[in-house]
């Protein structure tokens, strides 16, 4: 199993959700987050005053998938979240040791 953590642009939320749904991924956690990567935020000038906007709003998707589906899911995520510009975000993939469905104790792939 792999855990996928994807940080994407806020306006890509619906598109990414839809793309995942289309390949049969229904379970995910979505959070509103703020941060920056190489994009490093930027300065906005408003009425002569510079606003330092260093933490930019992003959306984070967390999902766990069986190893066999990893490539397909990452590809769907990448395609849906890409605009080709700086700030499109990142995808991180982790190994998952186990998963447990709390309701009935299912483990492993059966629990995700």
């Amino acid at each position: 199993m792999k855990k996928i953590e994807a940080i994407v642009q806020p306006f890509k939320l619906e598109e990414v959700k839809e793309a995942l749904k289309n390949i049969g991924i229904d379970g995910m956690t979505i959070s509103e987050v703020r941060g920056h990567g190489r994009q490093k935020g930027h300065k906005e000038v408003y009425r002569g005053q510079e606003y330092n906007v260093d933490l930019l709003p992003k959306v984070r998707f967390d999902l766990v998938v069986p190893d066999t589906r990893l490539d397909e899911v990452v590809e769907a995520l990448t395609n849906a979240a890409r605009t080709g510009k700086i700030g499109d975000g990142k995808i991180f993939v982790y190994d998952v040791a186990d998963a447990v469905r709390i309701r009935n104790g299912d483990r492993g792939d059966a629990a995700v």
Binding site: P10, E32, R34, R47, G48
Partner: protein
């Protein structure tokens, strides 16, 4: 009857009272039967809901076991020891019978002492009922002191706070949400403690029925009235729809909530000498209509509303000004006489004016809620009844539509009092802020019309309602825009790439002007904040602010753009008039967006008049004075007109200047006549116009005009410094200068003079003063080109010196 039989009977008869009585009787018989085996000298009583004989299907069974006092007497000690073992057997036995027992063991002395440390036990004793055992023990329990009412009031307020003090939750808890069954009990307790019960208890049948069903459906003590349960129970009790059931529910709950809050306030009002001193002080606010007694507003005369329904509007303004609550008696009178008010309101044609006035007063939100609670608001705008207690289910909204609306208005109005908040600054600077609550009041009213997207329906409903209430054409155009566009910013924020200039351009085009952008940004802020208490996350605030800044920058940039062919195509006036088309050539799109067809015709006429003399002026009075000047453009023109106005001691509020390709400048000024010079001296109007014309023609010098300017004491400082910046990227042919500083009389004239004296030409001006701040945008050029960087820096320095707050 067994539990099963009670349940079956309830599903047939839906008689909650019978159900509660049957289950109480069943449990009584079980407890009494088991108690008969207990040794003598103790007693058992029912308390809490069980004591009231109101046992819902899965309610806890609250038992009080009374032991004789362990006051050292040997016989009493022995009795206590003797009962321990059989008591634990008894309780285990009851558990085994499937009863959820919640017991406490006390001596009567303990019961009589502990009301200070354990208010909840004392409260439960208010509902005590003897079951079995030694009656003399039971009789030793005294009624709690009336001060317990204060604890009840405190606990109730704490509970209400958990639910944001509103009854209008989409998925309420029928027991704990304000107005729920717990509040019903609070009413009864306070009545027992001596807060008189002048009114009969409100009708709560629907609450009892719903709670019985909730327990039976969940199989446990679960009081959450979720969407799923609303569907199920609506079918079970034969309601037309879940929404209809919920309206019944909210109506019942509203009555309970109103009574409970009133009773609690009365209890809290007792005592406290500091408070009464304060009260004495504010009672001086009393006037010929109202007296303020013990912190509450009373009508001076009996039948005040019947004899003079307009008093309701004065009451509204009184509350908006002073923020005092209505006395209970006033609420009753209002409710009884609201029909008179409604009849009166139907015949009025300008009720919007007092509402708009009140919106700028410190307690506007409380006043509007008061008007809604006594249904006077709905008397003025019956259209609003469409959204009363209206449930629209979605994942995020927590309140009914009417409550969402009121919360949004409250948040928007309170925003102006916040400090160090960029949206609050915006709220203070925004022109026509009083139209924001008006737009919010109607923004979701279309949700009551099924099968149609709500936004256009809201506009359709708002129009006749507001026209009837006397809204001006100009105000309506703003409100209409706000309602129609109320989802634009949210949807751009969440669904579109804000780093794409095309996205920003399209939003800017929809919004049109910076003034509208400010109002729409605030409306969006308020709308999101009222979805649920946590909806306006820092994340969303940041996105909204970013969008605001980007669109604001785009609209400022656009000031040097020219009206395009698609705008000409879209305008029937321009299609029909080649003269108008020629006149408008070279003006920015903003000109079209802020001027009505009528105003454009006026400008065109001035343009014709100006052909002979080089200048034509017109002056009109609405809420403020508006001066239009059309003249051949020349260096220093704007500064001279500003100086001419200032020389009369008039305070320029807003100004803008554009010029068309034919070299004609169109300058408009809005100014306030704080000394009422023009009002009191009709001759001065002609004098002012002559002075403007002479100034434009160069017959007066700047020095002459400035000498005439009266000295005015500046206002208290709101800004510590002047901020002046320039930007050479905003336009291909001119330099953008933005200035923010404390406003003062004559400021604009001074600034314009500095620019003209530097040899730069003012191409475009947009000046706005709100809340004592001057927010100025200038596009300047020299010889038809941008200023070089050193020139621009020098000008910025000179402007900063003249604009520094004094």
């Amino acid at each position: 009857m067994t539990e099963q039989e009670i349940k079956e009977q309830f599903f047939v008869t839906r008689d909650a009272a019978a159900m509660l009585a049957a289950r109480t009787a069943l449990v009584d018989s079980i407890v009494r039967e088991r108690w008969s085996a207990m040794p003598e000298g103790a007693a058992i009583a029912a308390v809490g809901g069980y004591g009231r004989a109101e046992l819902f299907p899965h309610s806890d069974i609250d038992l009080l076991i009374l032991l004789p006092g362990a006051g050292g007497k040997k016989s009493e000690d022995r009795a206590q020891q003797a009962i321990k073992e059989p008591l634990s057997l008894l309780l285990r036995d009851l558990w085994d019978k499937g009863l959820r027992i919640s017991q406490s063991v006390h001596t009567p002395q303990e019961c009589n002492q502990i009301d200070n440390s354990n208010a909840e036990l004392s409260v439960s004793l208010l509902d005590r009922r003897f079951l079995a055992g030694d009656q003399t023990l039971f009789r030793q329990i005294r009624d709690p002191r009336p001060e317990l009412g204060k604890d009840i009031a405190r606990l109730t307020k704490e509970r209400h706070a958990e639910f944001q003090h509103t009854i209008y939750h989409l998925e309420p808890n029928v027991k704990d949400t304000p107005g729920g069954l717990r509040d019903m009990q609070v009413l009864r307790w306070l009545a027992k403690l001596g807060a008189g019960d002048e009114q009969g208890p409100p009708d709560t049948a629907v609450l009892f029925e719903v709670r019985c069903f909730l327990h039976y459906l969940a199989g446990r003590d679960d009081n959450r009235f979720t969407f799923d349960r609303q569907d199920e129970i609506a079918k079970l009790i034969g309601a037309a729809s879940p929404e209809e059931l919920m309206r019944r529910y909210y109506r019942a709950v509203r009555n309970i909530s109103r009574l409970a809050n009133r009773r609690i306030d009365r209890f809290e009002a007792k005592g406290s000498s500091l408070l009464s001193q304060f009260r004495d002080k504010i009672s001086r606010l009393s006037n010929t209509d109202f007296s303020v007694v013990r912190g509450g507003i009373l009508f001076r005369s009996a039948n005040a509303v019947e004899n003079d329904p307009g008093i309701v509007m004065r009451l509204f303004e009184f509350v908006a000004m002073h923020g005092l609550p209505l006395a209970g008696d006033t609420q009753d009178r209002l409710e009884r006489a609201i029909g008179h008010f409604e009849e009166w309101a139907k015949k009025q044609s300008n009720l919007l004016a007092p509402i708009r006035r009140a919106m700028l007063l410190p307690h506007a939100a409380a006043a509007l809620r008061m008007l809604h609670e006594c249904q006077a608001l709905e008397g003025i705008f019956p259209e609003l009844r469409d959204m009363e207690a209206l449930v629209i289910r979605d994942f995020y909204h927590r309140y009914t539509v009417d409550e969402h609306t009121l919360v949004a208005i409250t948040n928007a109005l309170n925003l102006r009092q916040k400090k160090h908040d960029s949206f609050a600054d915006l709220a203070v600077e925004t022109q026509d802020f009083d139209l924001l609550p008006v737009a919010l009041l109607f923004h979701d009213v279309g949700k009551g019309t099924p099968d149609e997207p709500h936004v256009p329906v809201s506009v359709r409903i708002a129009r006749p309602a507001l026209l009837r209430a006397g809204i001006s054409e100009r105000a309506w155009s703003i409100v209409e825009f706000l309602i129609a566009a109320h989802l634009e910013l949210s949807s751009a924020m969440s669904g579109r790439d804000l780093s794409d200039p095309e996205v920003i351009r399209s939003v800017a085009e929809k919004v049109g002007t910076v003034e509208r952008l400010r109002l729409l940004t605030l409306l969006t802020w308020a709308d999101i904040s009222a979805v649920n208490p946590g909806a306006l996350t820092p994340w969303r605030r940041q996105l909204l602010w970013k969008l605001y800044m980007l669109v604001n920058a785009e609209l400022t940039r656009e000031l040097t753009a020219r009206i395009g062919s698609h705008e000409i195509k879209a305008s029937p006036e321009m299609q029909g008039s080649p003269e108008l088309r020629a006149f408008l050539e070279g003006l920015p799109p903003r000109y079209l967006r802020i001027h009505s067809a009528e105003e454009m015709r006026q400008h065109l006429q001035l343009d014709a008049e100006a052909k002979g003399q080089g200048v034509a002026v017109s002056l009109a009075r609405s809420e403020v004075w508006n001066l239009n000047v059309v003249a051949s453009d020349k260096p220093g023109l704007f500064a001279m007109i500003a100086a001419a106005i200032s020389s009369f001691g008039l305070n320029i509020l807003r100004a803008e200047a554009f010029s068309n390709t034919r070299g004609r400048a169109i300058d408009t000024f809005a100014f306030a006549d704080e000394q009422r010079t023009l009002d009191l001296n009709p001759d001065e109007v002609q004098h002012l116009l002559r002075t403007v014309i002479r100034a434009v023609r160069g017959e007066l010098t700047m020095t002459q005009l400035l000498e005439r300017r009266p000295r005015v004491k500046p206002d208290a400082r709101v800004l510590a410094e002047a901020r002046v910046t320039y930007n050479n990227e905003a336009s291909p042919s001119s330099t953008l200068i933005e200035l923010l500083t404390q406003d003062r009389p004559g400021l604009l004239c001074d600034i314009a003079s500095v620019i003209s004296n530097s040899g730069a030409n003012i191409e475009v001006v947009l000046v706005d003063t709100e809340a004592k701040k001057a927010i100025d945008v200038f596009y300047v050029s020299r010889g038809g080109a941008k200023l070089a960087d050193p020139e621009a820096e020098e000008l910025v320095g000179a402007l900063t010196r003249v604009a520094v707050p004094v």
